[in-house]
Amino acid sequence: MRKTLIALFALAALASPASALQPDEILPDPKLESRARDISAGLRCLVCQNQSIDDSDASLARDLRTLVREQLKAGKSDQEIKTFLVDRYGNFVLLKPPFEWDTAALWLSPFALFAIAGFFVWRKSRTRKVEAAPAAPLSAEESEKLKALLDEKA
């Protein structure tokens, strides 16, 4: 059902090219408007690639912006509005994925990789020191060569 909805919205977006946030959408109350902007910046325009509804030209984005502002006028809190939208569209609507079981790997792996790689580099730098301490002994050929060189200098 959600997919058909999205497809319908996509068609609507193609038919009537709207624009990003327009003057007629702006709320008269600057405090409420600034909250609306903050919420909008974190919501994905569902038919676009990673654009927030605030920046998108799609008419679906306009509908969502209006929806957010209507809910704000109705006195709902930021969190209530987000929850409402997530219930309706799923986590897909949030530009910042929530930290849950199936996104834990997403949030943690960049730092885990850095820590693991850093640990290996650190360990290697320690073992290298130990290796570096005794220099490889000269081969018989090399010591002869060295002796010859030293004799030459003397």
């Binding site: 624009s19 946030l21 920046d55 986590n91 530009l95 960049p110 790689a117 580099v121």
Partner: protein
């Protein structure tokens, strides 16, 4: 006839590419110098043939030959000439042909300029480069033929997507592809070195110029793409962390890491295994980017599965080359022994940290880009990974680089004095702090902007401390012969200083976005609007007719303190054929900042909805990329790094070793 010639040339190029895979490789095994020597003429002939095919397709677009499906779908007889030419790569088939053209250009460039490379390595590398050509030419001929004809040609074409009818599109993809595909040379050389088992410090010298050249193009290509998005999308955003952009950032990050680790391999014979791994990784990420953009997997995993021919083909190429190269790497890596030893606090040690941070931030972008696809394929749940994720992961992993880069430049090879280096930086660090306080006092605003600007000032100045120390080794007062020393500095020293400073310039531009002013309002003729320090007035509104669009132009003047400083004309265009509108933002650069106005719908009373911005210092974002590329170019021009010199240097090295 011209079209068929082009099609035939492409098929012939495939045949030559096959020969290029077999003959030099066989020659290297049979130790037959004549067979190995076929590498150069084959690479050149292959390039000539692909160029011929590309020329034929361009010709079809230029003369609007509507018997070609590709021309019908993407062109129109009234389209301006520049977009007829650039429209060739504004679609799937054409852009893949451009990919193949630049791939064969890279092969030809390697054949012509890399004469210092030993014949055996050259033969094996050319063979790998040939195999890449085979894969992509097959892909074009079998799944994406741009020369397909139609039985009954229509009178008119469907026109090119209006968003792509822009000078930005004429420059952005070729630059980006030169970067992407330029790394194929580095990949082929790495694979060749693994096959022939020749990996010494000289290898780093062979790949350095190619890595640098590809890196310069990629830097410019990404910057150009970002500026294009900035002025076309109508609200001044320049980076969205969308998967297509990330696909270009990934090879840039690992290519930057490669540049640094190759310098360790070249000078100290250390980090060999790692450098070769990065050489493979960088082009693998370019291939991955091509897969992501071209297979349709991004729109949805499901749309990819419903028409999988192209996607699966590129996936096959991806698996073959990345898998093959990593398999070779696995076989050979244990036989590569590290050379020079170094203490943790040393130039090498810091370059290791640089590589650690760059690859970790690369991993953050990689995971953020691919995780939603993997998750949807795994349990069907759809999530979005947007800017907030990248700010929280990529940000902290990349930020230390900005602080540590100047410090690393001041450290000596092998074993260094960290305290001494830090002491040489105290002055610029203090300057950065003063800048933080100054920006806070003058601009106030978000903490991130103020701190970012301070770090940017530090990075810009600190990047030159090393040069300062070499020009004035005994302090500023004893400056005798400073000019002589300045001129005597190797170009690569200036290059790396400039490249690092350029990063600082970009950072300053990014930080300054925090001080931007926005006004979203209706614009009436004759009214004046205050945006930041500037007053904007709409003087007149005009309707105009373009070659393939209608246009509504709003003429505006910008004044400051009652004095007019500039005029500009933001407009809205409507393209008839595609029934699409685009907004041509009006942009005026004033003191490195920009006044930006995008107009949208016109209401019945004649007023326009408009978004108006004052973006201080915003042009620095892209100027910084120019500075970075210029630094790269200086480094490339350095005599010691030039390709032909490698041979002489090797002779000297050999003599020294024999002593």
């Amino acid at each position: 006839m011209i079209i068929e010639t082009g099609h035939f040339a492409l098929a012939l190029a495939l045949a030559l590419a096959l020969m290029q895979v077999v003959l030099p490789f066989w020659g290297a095994r049979a130790r037959d110098a004549n067979l190995m020597a076929t590498a150069r003429p084959l690479a050149l002939a292959q390039f000539a043939l692909v160029a011929l095919a590309y020329g034929a397709l361009t010709w079809a677009h230029v003369v609007s030959d509507f018997s070609l499906v590709n021309v019908i779908e993407n062109s129109h007889s009234t389209k301006p000439m520049i977009y007829k030419i650039s429209g060739v790569w504004g679609n799937h088939e054409g852009s893949m042909l451009l990919w193949a053209l630049i791939l064969s250009l890279s092969g030809a460039a390697m054949a012509v300029f890399a004469r210092a490379i030993p014949p055996r390595l050259m033969a094996d590398a050319t063979s790998v480069q040939g195999l890449l050509s085979v894969a992509f030419l097959l892909f074009i001929l079998l799944t994406s033929n741009p020369f397909a004809r139609i039985e009954t040609p229509p009178m008119e074409g469907n026109d090119l997507n209006p968003i792509l009818q822009d000078p930005g599109l004429a420059i952005h993809p070729p630059l980006l592809y030169l970067g992407y595909v330029g790394f194929s040379i580095v990949f082929s050389l790495a694979a060749g070195a693994l096959i022939s088992g020749r990996t010494d410090a000289a290898f780093a010298r062979f790949i350095r110029p190619w890595t640098l050249a590809a890196w310069i193009f990629l830097t410019l290509g990404i910057a150009m793409g970002s500026y294009w998005a900035y002025y076309t999308l109508g609200w001044g955003g320049f980076w969205f962390w969308d998967p297509v952009e990330n696909a270009s950032l990934l090879p840039w990050l690992s290519g930057t890491a490669l540049l640094h680790s190759a310098s360790v391999m070249e000078k100290r014979d250390a980090l060999k295994v790692w450098t070769i791994f990065l050489a493979i990784l960088t082009f693998s990420l370019s291939l991955l980017g091509t897969f992501l953009v071209r297979s349709g997997v991004l729109t949805s995993v499901h749309s990819f599965a419903s028409d999988p021919t192209r996607g699966l083909f590129i996936l096959g190429i991806l698996v073959l080359f990345i898998g093959g190269a990593l398999f070779l790497f696995m076989l050979r890596a244990p036989t590569l022994t590290g050379g020079g030893l170094f203490a943790p606090i040393s130039r090498e040690g810091f370059l290791v940290v640089n590589n650690l941070l760059l690859t970790a931030s690369c991993a953050a972008v990689f995971i953020g880009t691919l995780y939603p696809l993997a998750l949807e394929a795994w349990n069907g749940s759809k999530i979005t990974v947007g800017a907030p994720f990248f700010n929280l992961t990529f940000g902290p992993l990349f930020a230390p680089i900005l602080l540590l880069a100047p410090l690393g430049q001041l450290l000596a090879w092998k074993r260094a004095d960290l305290l001494g280096a830090a002491q040489r930086l105290w002055f610029v660090a203090a300057l950065g702090l003063v800048a933080v306080l100054g920006f806070y006092a003058l601009q106030g605003g978000p903490v991130v902007a103020v701190i970012g600007a301070g770090v940017a000032i530090y990075l810009m100045t600190a990047s030159f401390v090393e040069i300062w120390g070499r020009v004035f080794p005994q302090g500023f007062r004893k400056s005798a012969n400073a000019f002589g020393r300045m001129a005597g500095l190797p170009l690569s020293a200036w290059g790396s200083a400039l490249a690092h400073a350029g990063l600082g310039v970009t950072l300053l531009g990014l930080a300054a976005t925090g001080w931007g002013v926005e006004k979203i309002t209706k614009v009436q003729k004759g009214e004046t609007y205050q945006v930041g320090p500037y007053a904007l007035q709409a003087t007149s509104i005009e309707a105009a007719e373009g070659p393939n669009y209608r246009e509504a132009i709003v003429h505006m003047t910008i004044s400051r303190d009652g004095k007019e400083v500039a005029t500009f004309d933001p407009s809205k265009r409507f393209f008839k054929t595609r029934q699409m509108a685009t907004s041509q933002a009006g942009i005026v650069t004033l003191n490195l900042g920009q006044v930006y106005v995008a107009v949208a719908e016109q209401s019945p009373d004649g007023a326009f909805d408009a978004r108006m911005y004052w973006k201080p210092l915003v042009s620095l974002i892209w100027l910084g990329a120019l500075v970075m590329s210029f630094g790269g170019a200086l480094s490339l021009a350095d005599r010691r790094l030039r390709v032909g010199v490698a041979r002489r240097a090797k002779v000297v090295g050999a003599v020294q070793a024999a002593e």
